[in-house]
Amino acid sequence: VRRLLVSAAATLVALGMVGAGTTAAAAMTGREHAVACMRAHVADGRVTLPDTQSPDVEAVSRCLDEGGARLPVREARDVHALEMHCSALPRASGLPEDGAPGDADVVFYTDSVPGAGGELSRRRVAMVVGEDEAIVWSMSRSRDGAFDRLGFHVVRLGVFGTGGSGTVLDPLHPRDAVFERLDPALWPGSTDFRRSPGRVALVRTDEMAARLGWAADHPRDADTTFWHQATTFFALTGFLLSGLISGLVDAAIDLLRIICEHLGPVGAAALALASILGRHFDGTWLHRGLTVLLLALIDPWLAILAIAGTLPPVRAIPVLGWLLGITGGTAWSIASFLISAGLGIDEGETSVLSLAGAIATLPFVWARGGALLGRLAALGGRLTPWAPAVGRGWTALTLRFRPAAAVVYRGLRPVTEAGAVADELVGLAPSSLLDAGRWLDRVRPGWDGIDLPVSVGSRAAALRSGALHAADLFSSSWRPGQRSGALATQGAHLSRWLAAGLRRRGHGWPFDRLHRWLGRRPSWANAVDAAGNRLQHRAVPVLDEAARAARFHQGAAAVGDALNGQAPPPIPDPRPRLRSW
């Protein structure tokens, strides 16, 4: 018994030790990891970060990341971007459960330093590492009053209250301090142990009904299987590519139009011709007229019969209507088919270009039809005694005609194909070709006053920004849930960057070089500017909307909704209201 008791006690002690060890490790939450990481920066006593202008943002982002927070890669160096992922904490009672700052919360402040050319100020971020402590990036002062060391230091939260502490860190004069908390959803599994029930606010019922209605119409795609992800990915890629191609085609058409506008009389003639060829009209009545003409050529009574057979009041007559419908309707259908097949003129929307293409290819169509008839007649000749002669005659006739038809076809094929492509282009950008006037001059003043949100400061910044975007996109390979959003966001970034560059509002080596080159060619510069305007006007808003919607929902449906203008109702940001407290 004693042996049993001793072994049981030993087992319990061992289990307890193992349990205690694992509990200690497992109990470290993401926030505690982040705090430990920040404290390590202080303990190091040296700057281990790369040479950067924002070591505070770098360190806080890195430590939040180490704690498991899923901060987007590209925003690691931008204090404003980091701020976007945080919500201000109300400072009503100061109790932790009422939203007082706690571990791994952050405080944004403006650090002002008297400089040679006046006061220098910079927006900085510090991390709260205890109930009354935060770690800031600043210069400390030694006991004799001399400036000591630039680095991370622990300060009391009171520093961010009514002015600086005055003794501990002389150069730190925080202004406009706001305590904020990282979006709980960014912590791993959202197991944010600090998440309290929070403070409930009553909101406008109509606004809530609109928001819930939108959420009901746009449930998040719950399917997270591989194939769903893959199809979503390809659908989005296709959407972005088609948008890009459409934008490029628009830009090319603009370019062509502007070149024509600068070519004088030749250009004007080309534009006028394009305007005529691109004219769209309803081909229904042309088709019907030709059908009636064909029937009348066969027999005028047949035409009347067919027309009567298609008229609703006539068809309403009990027996006669049915008979007329059968006979006249059949005659009409056959004649209509012959017109469509023989002349290539269908009912519905068509353009002069399509019509010209259809008429130009008539010889080929008829030659093929004739050859087919001849072959059929020759085939039938085996069955009837008289048909071989007819069949041979037909075949000889069409064979004689076919080389000529082949030549015509070969000559016309590029024309018709170009016609089809041009028709597509006209369909894509009707305003470009149909309106030969100075559309650009009318539109341009409206766009000049708009500032783009993206400006790439330097070549290095452009490269870095591009590299970060690429890294973010690449990282979506192991964050499959983010793929669609990342793709849409990058598409929006790319289009904005391109539009800004083309419109001379952004800089960077490709655009600087382009605009230098264009400086010697004003007419080309106008064309590029117009293309940039078009991109900004057409592609950027759509892609921005897609990116915004893709943030909310997984799946290509959000993109479609964005295209249709079905964005979620605007959600008021509570932060400005809280900041004023």
Binding site: P90, P197, G198, V200, A209, R211, A215, I571
Partner: protein
């Protein structure tokens, strides 16, 4: 005053008195209806507030939130689509809380909807906050009104309804 004139005066007086009585009755009824409306509104606010607090403090809030974001909400009353309903076990505590607060405030629950907070929608299935929309009805405007309101209990005067919505500030 001659007899016919006296008759006319008394008729006029009777008419005036009855009109005054009617106006008084209407005023009383409207006042009661207005009071019932206010009662319904404060009841709705109380229920929305309590349910929002309860929903966001649920042990299985994360689960419910992910369900809600995928289109399966907690809905009581109204024409709820069964396919768009969250697991009953998740919703029961919320409906119970709504019923308790409604009873305490002497209002009847018409609709309770607990859905996702659109500020927390993400591409990935990440839990977020929950938003609440409730509709309640007050019992009736005043005692003695069943004669007026007996069968038409859907009219705003006889059974005023009020809606309220609540969400977490952060």
């Amino acid at each position: 005053v001659r007899r016919p004139q006296r008759g006319a005066v008394s008729l006029l007086m009777a008419l005036l008195a009855s009109m005054l009585a009617l106006a008084f009755g209407i005023a009383v009824f409207l006042g009661a209806a207005r009071g019932a409306e206010e009662h319904a509104q404060s009841g709705a606010d109380a229920v929305a507030h309590a349910v929002a607090l309860r929903a966001n403090a649920l042990d299985r809030r994360d689960e419910l939130s992910i369900e809600a974001q995928a289109g399966r909400w907690c809905t009581q009353g109204g024409e709820a689509d069964p396919a768009a309903e969250a697991d009953g076990e998740l919703c029961t505590p919320l409906f119970d809380e709504a019923a308790r607060i409604a009873a305490a405030n002497d209002v009847e629950l018409v609709t309770v909807v607990v859905g996702p907070d659109t500020r927390d929608l993400h591409a990935a299935p990440v839990p977020g906050r929950l938003a609440v929309l409730v509709v309640v009805a007050a019992a009736g405007p005043a005692a003695g009104s069943p004669q007026l309101c007996g069968r038409s209990d859907a009219t705003p005067l006889c059974r005023p309804e009020a809606a309220s919505a609540a969400e977490l500030v952060w």
